[in-house]
Symmetry: C2
Subunit: 195 residues, 2 copies
């Protein structure tokens, strides 16, 4: 028996079955990425983990890059706030601590590894990562710009270089040396960067 004809795109209403499927697939995407890594990531496994048919995933996202990108953008709304305590050292400490805490979450770590792994500069994921960092670093530079305005730093200080000297080593430990992102590390790093 055919289902009754419906009006106005019933499949796209918020909170409907389509939205639940999307949410389940995007959550499964980050879980699967955290579990097996980008090299072994497949749309089939994501579909199985989400409990949906694999053709649903293929039809809607097409390939793993598009799927991971969508999951990252969905997740990207949970942002690390930029502190403004009135002290350069305290702002840098809070920012570095928040980033170190955030990237040790398995799904965040997994997306960072996936983005880092791609050599092709034209990749969708690389482009998304580039835009994400452009925005984030610009926001973080305000910490340094405010310290210059307060007279805490000399006007010759380069805000971009100072923020990269803070954030870079956190990702370097995560991705390369695998040393712990603990409190003593973050404090010593801030000591070097804040001078």
């Amino acid at each position: 028996m055919p289902t009754p004809t419906r009006k106005a795109q019933p499949r796209k209403r918020p909170g409907g079955r389509s939205a639940r499927v999307r949410s389940a697939v995007l959550r499964a995407t980050l879980e699967e990425l955290a579990a097996v890594g980008y090299a072994s990531f497949s749309l089939e496994s994501v579909a199985a983990r989400a409990g949906v048919n694999k053709t649903t995933v293929y039809r809607r996202w097409g390939n793993r890059e598009q799927l991971i990108l969508d999951a990252m953008l969905e997740r990207g709304s949970e942002r690390v706030p930029i502190p403004d305590t009135g002290s350069l050292r305290q702002d840098l400490l809070e920012l570095a601590t928040a980033i170190a805490d955030s990237i040790t979450a398995p799904e965040v770590e997994a997306t960072a590894r996936a983005a880092a792994s791609i050599g092709d500069p034209d990749s969708l994921l690389v482009d998304a990562a580039r835009r994400f960092w452009e925005t984030r670093l610009k926001m973080a530079r305000e910490i340094v710009e405010r310290a210059i305005a307060r007279g805490e730093l000399s006007p010759g200080t380069d805000p971009a270089a100072m923020i990269e000297a803070l954030i870079g080593p956190i990702y370097f430990r995560l991705l390369m040396t695998r040393e712990p992102l603990d409190k003593p590390f973050v404090e010593k790093l801030v000591d070097v960067v804040a001078g």
Copy 2:
């Protein structure tokens, strides 16, 4: 007709066919990694690129981790030297410049991306990367230790944090933000780190 019986492991003599095959396969491994990335890397493609039978590659290396590890260790003998100019700023500038130049070589970049992509802490490649960085960072810390001994830096300076604040941002640009590793970037970074 059977080949004549040979004495004393003829296949392993230096410069022999076996050594030529090994060298060709390891070179092809880094080329293939640079061309397609870790996620799409396969022993079949390496064998095709090296012009050898794929069973040779499987028999000798078994899996892609072992193969990439062997290629990295072979290549790892070409090391970035640790400068000792008598000036902290100049030492840091030379070290950062050498690292930035080195990691923009396609095969070095590809091995960094492969190592960064692996989430499993028990992976052979992760273990090799961890040991590589332990040795390298210890050597680089001597730059800071010498500056402390010369009185250029206060004895309270943390050599490890200073070296990570220098090297971390270079890998952060390569792996995450994809901004250029050019001379102005390196100079501004040294300004921040050397204070």
